[in-house]
């Protein structure tokens, strides 16, 4: 899906901005189409300074003196905080259709954003040019915007503190960084996966592979004196196919997304992607409809963490609570689920799609317990909400790019292990759904209603998985669904899946996870009732 974006920059921009404007106040928060991420087991510990620390100075001549001047300009209108966010991103998308690598997209994005806070007011401006006059102009604009558009003559904000490099994590080192990988090596990956898919079964009619790699260099400086830099890699491989049997067509996919270099694509992983896409597609020919209506639902381990993301994650983002528009507002310390339910949002999992070495306003990445044994413990905070709640930021201030101000976002959201054997959970259900593959989650923050889509799963009859089912939508209410989690398995898994999460017009990479989990009753859509 990502590959098509590059081709539609001009076409989609206006409608996108339009949607963003409306969504700013609309409430529904979208979780975009799934891409998977690999939770690699290789733990890396904190951090030798990397050579890219000096990147913006070397490539664009940005000096500490420049940063200081721009910060001072930004605070010149009476602001009480400012940050500068520099970003240089490069990405490559390569498409292989029916065995032919016949198109590619590349993208380069460069710029810096200036944010000014004045109490609860945010002013934001960016520049795609990194010259000092252009940056000063952006700073002046942000200062004025934070001030409600007016100048504040003579008003003097706080002085920026001297910049000092901060330590940070090193969660996504690359053994084979993408800027040292040739195109032929990338094509080799695609040929292996495409070849396996085409050769695997006579019913496969079409194959489509979309490969992406990119890296984003980031430099952050703020008026508290924090100076940080990062190199954020991201790669994904999306394998999909169309199969035909008795005149009927079905399609499905398997994909991976992770923060790593070329080394992540082992032959075993590539074969699993190819085999997974084919298996998931062919299985749909055996799918039968499921009776629609309210029923027990067992969520398979891994990507079913989408339930947490929609049912509670967005609702705990502190901006929604500070404004009291979330259904979870003013519920800290209250019991919202059973004893078995502990939910964590963690930015520190190595190579996870949602991993961040630090957040996009200089906050330290951390593991945040949201729900502990059923009791609501914390919201997800950025600087602005932490200030309002008089607590520490949870390191959750994230942004899509230098064009946007940060806001509280999830990182990797998952549920910890419970006491039950997975088989025991399935066996407890007389008639219900075992849901395996998920996409398209969405939540209405105020009412707490959420929805996500089960691309594939199985019917459960008398405690056994019987036939495959497909294409059913699930809709529920967050607090209600959490209170209906009646069994949690002992098989926690951070999904091999990572997703792109959209909120108020900004998209960021996230991860999610869940052990096998039973929700005792939830509304499942379908064509048979």
């Amino acid at each position: 899906m990502m590959a098509e974006h590059a081709g539609q920059v001009d076409l989609s921009r206006r409608s996108f901005l339009l949607a963003a404007t409306a969504a700013t106040v609309a409430g529904p928060v979208l979780l975009g189409l799934g891409c998977q991420s690999l939770a690699s087991g290789q733990a890396t510990s904190a951090a030798p300074p990397a050579p890219h620390l000096e990147y913006f100075e070397g490539a664009f001549g940005i000096t500490a003196g420049d940063l200081d001047r721009v910060l001072r300009e930004a605070l010149g209108g009476g602001g009480d905080y400012s940050d500068l966010y520099f970003q240089h991103s490069q990405g490559t998308w390569i498409v292989m259709e029916d065995g032919k690598v016949n198109r590619a997209f590349t993208s380069v994005s460069l710029g810096m954003g200036v944010r000014v806070l004045k109490r609860e007011q945010t002013g934001y401006a960016f520049s795609q040019e990194l010259s000092l006059p252009a940056m000063l102009e952006a700073a002046k604009a942000a200062a004025s915007l934070a001030n409600g558009g007016g100048q504040a003559p003579g008003a003097r904000g706080l002085e920026a503190r001297p910049l000092k490099r901060q330590p940070r994590l090193d969660l996504y080192p690359q053994a084979q960084p993408w800027d040292q990988v040739g195109v032929p090596q990338r094509l080799e990956l695609l040929r292996r996966v495409g070849g396996r898919m085409a050769a695997s079964d006579g019913r496969i009619k079409k194959t489509l592979l979309q490969f992406h790699d990119g890296q984003s260099r980031v430099l952050l400086a703020n008026s508290d004196g924090v100076l940080l830099s990062d190199l954020r890699p991201r790669t994904s491989l999306f394998a999909s196919c169309v199969a035909e049997q008795d005149g009927r067509r079905e399609s499905n996919y398997r994909d991976i997304t992770t923060r790593a270099g070329l080394e992540v694509y082992t032959p075993a992983l590539l074969d699993e992607l190819a085999g997974g896409a084919v298996k998931r597609t062919l299985e749909l020919f055996d799918a039968r409809p499921l009776m629609a209506g309210e029923m027990p639902c067992v969520l398979a381990p891994g990507s079913a963490g989408i339930l947490l993301h929609e049912a509670i994650g967005h609702g705990l983002e502190a901006d929604f609570n500070r404004r009291r528009v979330s259904t979870y507002a003013e519920r800290l310390g209250q019991r919202i689920a059973g004893e078995q339910v502990t939910v964590v949002d963690d930015g520190t999992i190595p190579h996870a799609h949602g991993a961040i070495n630090f957040d996009d306003e200089g906050g330290q990445s951390q593991r945040t317990v949201l729900v502990e044994k059923g009791v609501l413990r914390s919201y997800l905070h950025d600087r602005l909400s932490a200030r309002w709640y008089k607590c520490d930021s949870t390191g959750s201030g994230r942004r899509q790019s230098f064009e946007y101000a940060p806001m509280p976002r999830m990182r990797a959201t998952f549920m910890e292990a419970g006491p039950f054997e997975p088989a025991e959970i399935i066996a407890s259900v007389k008639k219900g759904l075992y849901a395996v593959q998920f996409t398209n989650g969405q939540v209405n923050i105020g009412a707490g209603d959420f929805s996500f889509y089960v691309k594939s799963g199985y019917a459960i009859e008398n405690g056994k998985l019987t036939h495959p089912v497909k294409d059913v939508n699930i809709i529920g209410n967050g607090p209600q669904a959490l209170s209906r989690i009646s069994m949690v398995g002992n098989d926690p898994a951070l999904a091999t899946a990572g997703y792109m999460c959209g909120k108020l017009g900004q998209t960021v990479p996230v991860s999610q996870g869940l052990p096998t989990t039973l929700v005792s009753a939830i509304n499942v859509g379908g064509t048979h009732g």
């Binding site: 001009d10 404007t21 409430g27 032919k100 079905e250 528009v325 259904t327 407890s428 497909k470 009646s486």
Partner: protein, 461 residues
């Protein structure tokens, strides 16, 4: 007409074509864009966030040694452009040849002078940031007043957005097109506490947009937006699932864009070529009820999708997609038309219009509904373009005897697009005017709804 910005962009595009040729491209096109925007949000009596900046970019399509790739950059420094093009060409050379790729035949290019589509308003173009700040502030105040009037106000928002954009497309066959546009939007939003429902909030929003500044302000207009937003929040109070079963479904104009968007996806060249469209090979066949006619109208005055040349530089002209329920045409650019052996149209939609089947919009259609569901928004769900199967979560209103019985949430509707569009019973005359997809309200025959529990299933613990 040529503003400084257009002149700058034209120079960038022409330089890019020269660089592409030097890098070895046989054919190339360059699209340079720039936009200035102001985005303002007030909430609960104060400014929440204001952003303003200029965004520009260049996208180049290279046709090189029979190979094709597309490259974009926001780094327009001359010294960066040369390196960008060299890297772009090097990557393109490593792909496999695709002889069907080329620029469109020169005869299909749009020819100037550009028609006046009413897309640019001088007063909006010259409007200062402060004007949008004031508009957002005023909108928030009215939105708050309307929310307070409705009772149980949790939060009120008012926002404004403006954009002035320029687009220049140049191709190596000598096509040079440019378009300059303005657009402004104002939005009201209200969140109310639902007293009967333990902490549930009901939100409503409404907005308007125009190419022209004069269409946006004015207290009466803003008051209407504020009261509409509050009324939309109010009407969701006490929402609960309706019954499960097969019922007629009315979809409000704004929400119907989801259904139309999924349908248009099945008409795109890439989807058809990948055999991921349930409408593949069905040109000339009835695929919907006879009262469905859909057309693409790029030359609509002041339309949000209006243009006189498309992404390839081809002359924009209206065409029919579905006429009297019969599938007439697809969205096909030069490449996909060739791959599918069909006549090219255009690669992507402009303004999409449906012909009303009889007078009356959402209100009249609801009043005529004996028993069924009125969908006011979709929540999640999915459409499978390969099979046409859909399953959408939704919110809306349960209707009995032409009256709203109660608000609805927590329901799904499912079926197949073949059946859905064939069951279409009425197309409203209330197209939603502020987007490219100008969908009216649509009334469908019986659809499978799942809502309130049928019977207790086998339970877990």
């Amino acid at each position: 007409m040529a503003s400084q910005a257009l002149e700058d962009l034209t120079r960038v595009a022409e330089q890019a074509l020269v660089a592409a040729k030097q890098a070895g491209a046989r054919e190339a096109s360059a699209n340079a864009t720039r936009s200035r925007f102001v985005d303002v949000g007030f909430r609960d009596g104060g400014l929440e966030k204001a952003s303003a900046s200029i965004r520009q970019g260049l996208t180049v399509r290279l046709f090189l040694d029979g190979r094709y790739a597309l490259h974009s950059t926001s780094d327009l420094r001359p010294e960066a452009l040369a390196g960008f093009m060299d890297k772009a060409a090097a990557l393109t050379r490593l792909l496999e040849p695709d002889p069907q790729r080329s620029l469109p035949e020169p005869a299909r290019y749009a020819r100037g002078p550009a028609p006046d589509l009413g897309l640019m308003d001088q007063s909006l173009r010259q409007s200062p940031t402060a004007l949008w700040m004031d508009l957002g502030r005023e909108m928030e105040g009215l939105s708050r007043a309307a929310g307070q009037g409705a009772g149980q106000l949790v939060s009120a928002q008012g926002g404004s957005y403006m954009e002035v954009s320029q687009d220049v497309l140049a191709t190596s066959y000598g096509f040079l097109g440019s378009q300059e546009e303005t657009g402004g939007f104002v939005v009201a939003s209200t969140v109310l506490m639902d007293p009967g429902q333990g902490g549930k909030r009901r939100s409503g929003y409404w907005w308007r947009g125009s190419r022209r500044l004069a269409d946006l302000g004015g207290q009466d207009r803003l008051k209407t937006l504020a009261s509409t937003a509050a009324a939309r929040a109010l009407r969701q109070m006490g929402a609960r699932p309706g019954p499960s079963g097969a019922f007629p479904v009315l979809v409000e104009n704004q929400a119907a864009s989801r259904l139309l968007g999924d349908l248009l996806g099945c008409l795109s060249g890439a989807t058809l070529h990948q055999e991921r469209s349930y409408l593949r090979g069905r040109q000339g066949q009835a695929v919907a009820a006879p009262l469905l006619s859909i057309s693409d109208q790029p030359l609509l005055k002041e339309g949000f999708g209006s243009r006189w040349y498309d992404g390839e530089g081809v002359a924009a002209q209206p065409f029919t997609l579905i006429e009297g329920g019969v599938l007439r045409d697809f969205y096909l650019d030069t490449y996909y038309a060739r791959m599918l052996g069909l006549k090219p149209t255009t690669g992507g939609h402009s303004n999409v219009l449906l012909t009303p089947s009889q007078p009356g919009g959402f209100g009249e259609m609801l009043a005529g509904l004996e028993r069924g569901l009125a969908v006011t928004s979709f929540l999640g769900g999915n459409f499978n373009s390969t099979t046409g199967d859909f399953s959408y979560g939704l919110q809306g209103l349960w209707v009995e005897g032409g009256q709203v019985a109660h608000a609805v949430e927590g329901m799904n509707m499912a079926g197949n697009f073949d059946g859905l569009w064939r069951s279409l019973q009425r197309v409203g005359d209330d197209p939603f005017p502020y987007t490219k997809l100008r969908t009216p309200s649509l009334l469908f025959g019986e659809l499978r709804l799942s809502g309130a529990s049928l019977a207790p299933g086998g339970a877990g613990q």
